[in-house]
Symmetry: C2
Subunit: 214 residues, 2 copies
Amino acid sequence: MHVVVPFGAARPKTRLSPALDADERREFAHAMLRDVLAALPDRHDPTVLATAPVECDAPVVVDERPLTEAVNDRLPGGDRPAGDESDAGSEDDPVAVVMADLALATTDALERLFAPDADVVFAPGRGGGTNALVVRHPSFHVDYHGASIRDHRAIAADAELETATVDSFRLATDVDEPDDLVELLLHAEGHATDWLRETGFAVTTTDGRVEARR
Amino acid sequence: MHVVVPFGAARPKTRLSPALDADERREFAHAMLRDVLAALPDRHDPTVLATAPVECDAPVVVDERPLTEAVNDRLPGGDRPAGDESDAGSEDDPVAVVMADLALATTDALERLFAPDADVVFAPGRGGGTNALVVRHPSFHVDYHGASIRDHRAIAADAELETATVDSFRLATDVDEPDDLVELLLHAEGHATDWLRETGFAVTTTDGRVEARR
């Protein structure tokens, strides 16, 4: 399956500003992208869909448009933009979209995303997001504004598509805010976790609240 | 399997104070308890382990001690307290512990918790908690202080027990804080969600942040 990994390369992870400075956010975002690419099962074919050039272990397509438009053009039935050299197969091939900040993702968790044979498969994120999805039908399109999981269910229902939902803590945990960092220290072993440890983060408990601090 | 459902009946859900007053917190906590009991597969045998008497659709045992002690006495190998009339089987029978605020829990998610044949099965919670577990070996005990999932892994490793972990967003989501309420409105259909809707809560999006508000 073709897997699109959107990556906000220009000013990544601004909501982590209370914990990390701009250079650190950039390094950390790259470490998470590496973890997501490494977790993809080998038989899949990733393209990083980035808002600016980025070095990584997968083909990169730069598209400066907002996320929703850039992703929709790459779904089954979408218009591939002029100049896009990515090998995304024919317009009837299924496409997965997996966010680049799912640094808790494991191959097992992603296999559960790819397994159901539904027209659309959702991995909801905490706070109403859609952290990953698989699209097998040209009538579906994404809309990442607001509580996107609700909108995506409505879009699928309007088009009378069969849907499935993957119940995964790992795929539900997009690392966006300082509170999310502790999940990496507790549950992940990849580049992003190593980076956090190397820059001095550790699990601390204050007043019953568990956090990553340095 | 015997399933212990701990319920803080005296002053439930104090961390929800910014969103709900004391009477509302009590009603809402009861609605969540009902949802958890309803989600348990029929073949299982629940006991609500409460810090004060509570009316619900399962046998209730009142134990005023801290959570860790009250649970440990009811695990395989634990000392059942004098006067405990609950039918928890022999000390070699497996015991599950499922928190009463897992209002997103479904029968499918709980079946995944009960399925692995390991000595101890964990369902980690967001923020380092242990939202549910299954204990099949008398050498394991719980310690719910701090980042309990880490301590529980260490306790199992020290006792050379085989462990399994269930990757479930539904079981990872304990409803503790106002930010958690939106998950119910987006992903659950039970008594707790009905209660939120009836008291005026709805999903709102402000500055890209998705919340339950009234």
